[in-house]
Point group: C3
Chain length 347, copies 3
């Protein structure tokens, strides 16, 4: 049984059919070791320091006439413990919590049904944060990451660099109860060295259940995001602004980042500011990292991050629930330092 | 969609070995939008409106001498939220809750060990309900859908159209405790245009745990099912009768259905009657649907269903636990209307 | 990482490309029926009587210069019910609880990060127990089977038969709290007919959480293991010694076993002694089994096991939590008898 097998897409042994209807299994396993210190310190095995660990299955079918049907099933894995748990998955079981959609695409663009990244998060957060929204140095601040029970529309690729996404998530409550209803819009321009995205989204107040967990939003949650980058070749500067407003509470988040190809990898640096409106309890973060590519699929990486908390602020470095650094105690106004080194392998 | 896509076992690029030991990865992602109204109404993203969303792995090995070994692992997915939850799965994690068996097959027929559809449900319910036991319009009424800890036997295919299944499920209780013990028999004839199946099964009273959840049966649960269809070419009429008896409570369920190829798809209509014995709290359902095939693997579909409840009856349209229409309130004697449109993609 | 790859998908049917970056899907489905009797008796469907049922994905990438990157994701399945539950998985969902690692291997050996079998369990327990640590007749007594949040090192294969493993598991507690910290060492010699392994490991006292469940260790847990076998051709004798000490409690476990090729399969016999120090509450077990190979991948097997409990000892035959024989009541000093027959199919 150790010999076993390679799974391969074949339809009745017809090579032609093969190309037409491919099913792709894909994934990433990213594990490392890290250390974080504040009031006390903790060392541990970290996961997803460079890319989110995952396992997925996806495919596209050409229906003719320019029309394509597709599916995408992608789940989070935590290879440090083998559980399926991630930020959006309460239990230890594997589930397609990252994305589960069916789609139709054509000249008109693409329509997706199911669960996927929120329009207000996907492009503005992931494209411009050089740490890719993972690991100790990731830019924090997005409450709405994924949307269940959603319908989204994306413009086609041939608009001269312009793109837009509209995203609606049903709250699925009876009658006039709007709890959990999501609406997001994102649009931008990406051509040559320049990329810029503007996005806004909103979740209606009430008890919101996304299939994994429930949260109660006392007020509507409204966000704005702006991301931009310009690739100069020797270095790519990027900027992110994100604001979240719920009731009278408002957070503004700013990031300035640089990515530079150095040797066989990339050197990354970022400065982030977490500004809680009408308060002095702000935080500032500095981070530097290097990703050394052993191949297109495999890299080793190292990250150092520092969080400077002011007054009553007690922000930790980024970490999903259950990650090793959630065991660190961060006191009011206390600084946090952390580093991690790891291996990321994609398949 | 049963033909699906095929992940194939390959050993060191040997074409011969490929044919001998195939492993198939297969699945369905079916998502849509729907609306249901009774006392109040709800709109939402629906899943599995035309076929149950799933992901599975199966394979057959030719052992020589007409003997074959096989395995089948198939789990439910809820692509509206990405969870693995289905009717038989309490938590959000993916599991092989739909079927997990190892089997030996030969001239004698097939023996399976593990978890699979109950003999009293599989053929009589799924083959003759033109809505395939899924979506708002599915015929309701089967309590026992799947059996864990089971051993089943199926007759071989070469009996001139006659077939039979015997199915035993261990209760796995110590001593003389028979709680949860299952026994089912199904048999019929399927040849040319005619298909008919008669089935009976029984679950012994007590605390029944199938590995996902526990229910307490105060009395033995005994069922009878009869299904029949005759394909006239322009239209295929079908009939289903199902009765469930536990203690003094008895339910009779009747369905008359028509399937007709119209254009590139099928038009489906059904009338169902839910008759609670010694009571006037009965329900009648009418449904109509159209399935438009974009390819062998992909279809778009629309379904309209109406439930007429009499007196104290308050039967909702069909929906798995957690589905959007479970949020609708259905009062005594109140009618329910619903529709859904969706995309089903098989791989 | 968006590029990612392709398990199936024979692109351009290039055998060479296939060899370079292979992803392997593999698994075992092992189901049978069994009966166990003590104070009372129970019959049921058993799973993993010959090999642990599982589903996994693994791959190796050649990075050049003798360096290889690899990943391994392997989860437990319980095909009797279709759940993912196993000894280390509390819920019904499938998860990569058996192994989830990323690794780098080269002339220096292999380094793995993630969750895997404990160094003190892997080789000494599985290699020398002829029942492979599964089924009613498995040798019992290892508390630490797998380690989460681990880093391990293995020597390369070219040391003339000598091998060693070092394994460290982070407790991931803040400050000086060592709870759950694991350290294991194993080493041995395997060449020609002779195989011998010596191992020791330790888990630090405290609340230990491995991502699936929590246990509280009042004291450090320290073990020693010694395994040896010598293949004489007509018969392979094996010996296992294992001791566990926590606080003042010490268990010694001994096994003598014989494996002999008989006909197309293997005849297996074992005698085990469970010796609780400073107590007369010991147990002795006898087992015999036959594994008949229908092919390289498929076997049918039968096992008979007898447990003789002395004085207050009440040891059951081996069974994972939730397995059918956990429903048997075993009184003090009572004997237990059990048998199982099943099918094991690997893919």
């Amino acid at each position: 049984m150790k010999k076993s097998l390679i799974a391969l897409a074949v339809l009745a042994a017809s090579g032609a059919a093969m190309a037409q209807s491919s099913v792709t299994m894909f994934g990433i396993v990213d594990v490392g070791v890290g250390h974080v210190s504040a009031t006390n310190s903790v060392s541990g095995v970290t996961q997803s320091g460079n890319s989110s660990s995952r396992l997925g299955f996806r495919g596209v079918e050409d229906l003719g006439g320019g029309l394509k049907a597709g599916f995408w099933l992608e789940g989070a894995i935590s290879p440090d413990t083998g559980t399926g748990a991630g930020a959006n998955n309460a239990g230890p079981g594997f589930a397609f919590s990252r994305r589960s959609t069916v789609s139709l695409a054509g000249n008109f663009g693409e329509v997706r049904l199911g669960r996927e990244l929120a329009a207000g998060y996907d492009k503005p957060a992931i494209s411009y944060d050089p740490f890719g929204q993972v690991g100790l140095a990731a830019l924090q601040g997005w409450t709405t990451v994924r949307v269940s029970n959603g319908v989204s529309y994306r413009t086609p690729a041939n608009l001269g660099g312009f793109f837009a996404t509209a995203h609606y998530g049903f709250g699925e409550q009876a009658g006039n109860n709007t709890a959990g209803r999501y609406f997001g819009l994102a649009g931008g321009y990406e051509n040559g060295p320049l990329s810029v995205t503007l996005a806004a989204d909103q979740v209606k107040a009430g008890v919101v259940n996304n299939g994994y967990s429930s949260v109660t939003l006392a007020n509507d949650l409204k966000t704005w995001s702006l991301g931009a980058s310009y690739d100069l070749g020797v270095v790519k500067p990027a900027f992110v602004y994100h604001s979240e407003k719920t009731g009278s509470v408002k957070n503004n988040i700013y990031m300035l980042a640089l990515t530079a190809p150095v040797g066989p990898g990339n050197l990354i640096g970022s400065y982030a500011r977490y500004d809680l409106k009408d308060s002095n309890n702000d935080s500032n973060a500095l981070a530097i990292g290097y990703v050394y590519n052993l191949s297109k699929r495999t890299a080793v990486y190292g990250t150092y991050a520092h969080m400077n908390n002011k007054n009553a602020a007690a922000r930790n470095l980024n970490g999903v629930s259950g990650s090793f650094n959630s065991n660190v105690t961060v006191g009011a106004g206390e600084n946090v330092d952390g580093y991690q080194v790891g291996i990321r392998h994609a398949f």
